[in-house]
């Protein structure tokens, strides 16, 4: 699955790729592909998001979120239904958390490739490295501890339940400021690393982090942590945003020339795009 995509990029310096089997081409790509670091980070990102979805929705089954309005017996029942799923699923989460690092490095690299100050790349890198802890790990720890001892005082399990979902949904600032840093970098960039509309889409994503704030206040309704606005609509925006930047980063890697000027367009594009690029350079 990985190979056709990797092959489409033209090697810059390395020997020609062998025409042999799947495995030998993969090995060649691993050893010689001039963009191997970028493709590595990109694939780590794709696999991470796949696993993230599978683990949170199907293995641990903690998403979509249950209601914050539940009483204590319902919450303990919910945990005992998911006992093994939570313990094993979050075990895998702990194992793969580090996959965030190459992912954030790739996003920071996209900013480094822009015509903007390094400030943006480093700020984004630090903000998003930080974000994994309140945004994911704290939830995983709280959930695991809650599932660890089914005989624990139900009130404490209920507290862990609140802690898990509120830390997960209610961690807003890191993602908001991070998206805004990225947005400003994209809008200022003259190297055409990303289209400007993606910058505006980052603003949409940042605004959904504002919208989730009422989750700290309401126990039921559209604004609770499982509400139609605070969760469902935000999730749609987040998934769209993530999908879009995965595709755009792939394009960026394909266009990468390791220079410092504007990123060239893909060669197979039409004449219109070339004149467009020429105009942009002008």
């Amino acid at each position: 699955m990985s190979l056709p995509k990797m092959k489409t990029t033209e090697p810059l310096t390395a020997p020609d790729p062998p025409a042999g089997s799947w495995v030998s081409r993969l090995a060649w790509n691993f050893r010689h592909h001039p963009k191997r670091e970028l493709w590595f980070a990109w694939w780590v990102m794709v696999i991470f998001y796949q696993l993230y979805g599978v683990l949170f929705f199907f293995v641990t089954r903690v998403q979509p979120p249950p209601s914050p309005a539940w009483d204590t017996p319902t919450v303990t029942q919910w945990f005992s239904d998911r006992h093994l799923g939570i313990l094993a699923g979050f075990g895998v989460v702990f194992l793969i958390t580090g996959m965030c690092a190459p992912m954030n490095a790739l996003l920071a690299y996209s900013m480094r490739r822009m015509s903007v100050s390094r400030l943006f790349a480093y700020s984004y890198l630090i903000i998003y490295s930080l974000s994994a802890i309140p945004g994911m790990l704290v939830m995983a720890i709280a959930m695991t501890v809650a599932a660890l001892r089914p005989d624990r005082d139900p009130e404490l399990i209920h507290w862990l339940y609140d802690f898990a979902f509120l830390s997960f949904s209610g961690t807003m600032g890191v993602f908001m400021i991070g998206s805004l840093v990225w947005m400003v970098a994209i809008l200022l960039d003259k190297n055409c690393v990303f289209p400007k509309w993606f910058g505006y889409l980052s603003l949409c994503n940042a605004l959904t982090e504002v919208v989730v704030a009422p989750a700290w206040i309401f126990h039921r309704g559209a604004f609770a942590w499982n509400g139609a606005i605070a969760w469902w609509i935000n999730m749609v925006v987040f998934v769209t945003y993530t999908g879009v930047f995965i595709v755009l980063l792939r394009k960026m890697i394909q266009r990468e020339d390791f220079g410092a000027g504007p990123l060239p367009d893909l060669p197979d594009k039409g004449v219109a795009d070339h004149s467009d690029a020429a105009e942009a350079v002008r």
């Binding site: 001039p34 963009k35 191997r36 670091e37 970028l38 590595f40 980070a41 313990l87 094993a88 979050f90 075990g91 895998v92 702990f94 194992l95 958390t97 580090g98 996959m99 965030c100 690092a101 190459p102 954030n104 490095a105 790739l106 920071a108 690299y109 480094r112 790349a121 890198l125 630090i126 998003y128 490295s129 930080l130 994994a132 802890i133 790990l137 995983a140 720890i141 709280a142 695991t144 501890v145 599932a147 660890l148 001892r149 624990r152 005082d153 404490l156 862990l160 390791f258």
Partner: protein, 235 residues
């Protein structure tokens, strides 16, 4: 030429750090022998009541020096920067990892200190704080695994006549990553090797971390010395 004296100073904080960490480790009464997840709430509460002082002082020591490893990881990231890569992605990744383990360790550290702050509170609450502390402490491997694997990959991809690190350093890092991996699943068992006082989740994991610090310390020291020698020749 950039001055490397500062790097050398930072590097020599490592042995001091190792000594402090080792003494804090032995001072904390819950590490030798590691506390079992099967302890009842009353036993846990009793432990915090009896050993309050040692828990507090060892954890204060850890609180002071827990983040001490960050400069060392950044030193590694700087060396990765010198490798024959086309992009800074791998050194960025290491920087992204650097803050993770100390932050998680500080969270665990705070839970232990909280537990010992009012040992007379309800045993259930002390047990909860103890669970949170032990689990967070054990799963801080999350970032260390990635750190080792990324460093190994960086070394494998460092194709030049005189690579920054020798290939065996990469193999060693993969080995450490493998040794750390089981600890992520510690919550699955309360007895046996996976439990947080067990062979894999406690002994193998912590010995692997210690081995990584010692071996990487020596390797880094040699590399920095070679780098200084090269710089002197170049100058």
């Amino acid at each position: 030429m950039r001055r490397t004296d500062g790097e050398l100073i930072l590097f020599w904080t490592l042995p001091a750090l190792a000594i402090i960490w080792a003494s804090a480790f032995f001072l904390f009464p819950g590490f030798l022998h590691p506390m079992s997840p099967t302890m009842s709430a009353e036993e846990v509460a009793g432990f915090y009541r009896d050993e309050t002082a040692r828990i507090r002082y060892s954890m204060i020591l850890f609180n002071w020096f827990g983040v001490g490893l960050i400069p060392v990881v950044i030193l590694v990231a700087m060396q990765v920067r010198r490798m024959a890569h086309r992009t800074p992605i791998l050194s960025y990744s290491l920087i992204a990892c650097a803050g993770g383990p100390p932050t998680l360790f500080l969270i665990a550290n705070m839970f232990w200190l909280l537990g010992s702050f009012r040992p007379e509170r309800a045993p259930e609450l002390t047990q909860l704080l103890n669970d949170l502390a032990w689990l967070t402490f054990t799963i801080l491997v999350a970032y260390l695994i990635a750190q080792c694997l990324l460093l190994a990959l960086a070394i494998y991809w460092d194709r030049q006549a005189r690579p920054v690190f020798k290939p065996w350093v990469a193999h060693f890092n993969v080995l450490i990553a493998v040794a750390l991996a089981p600890a992520a699943f510690t919550a699955l068992a309360s007895t046996g090797p996976l439990a947080w006082d067990g062979l894999l989740s406690f002994w193998v994991k912590n010995i692997a971390i210690a081995a990584w610090i010692i071996v990487m310390g020596i390797v880094l020291g040699q590399t920095i010395r070679q780098q200084r020698a090269q710089d002197r020749v170049a100058a």
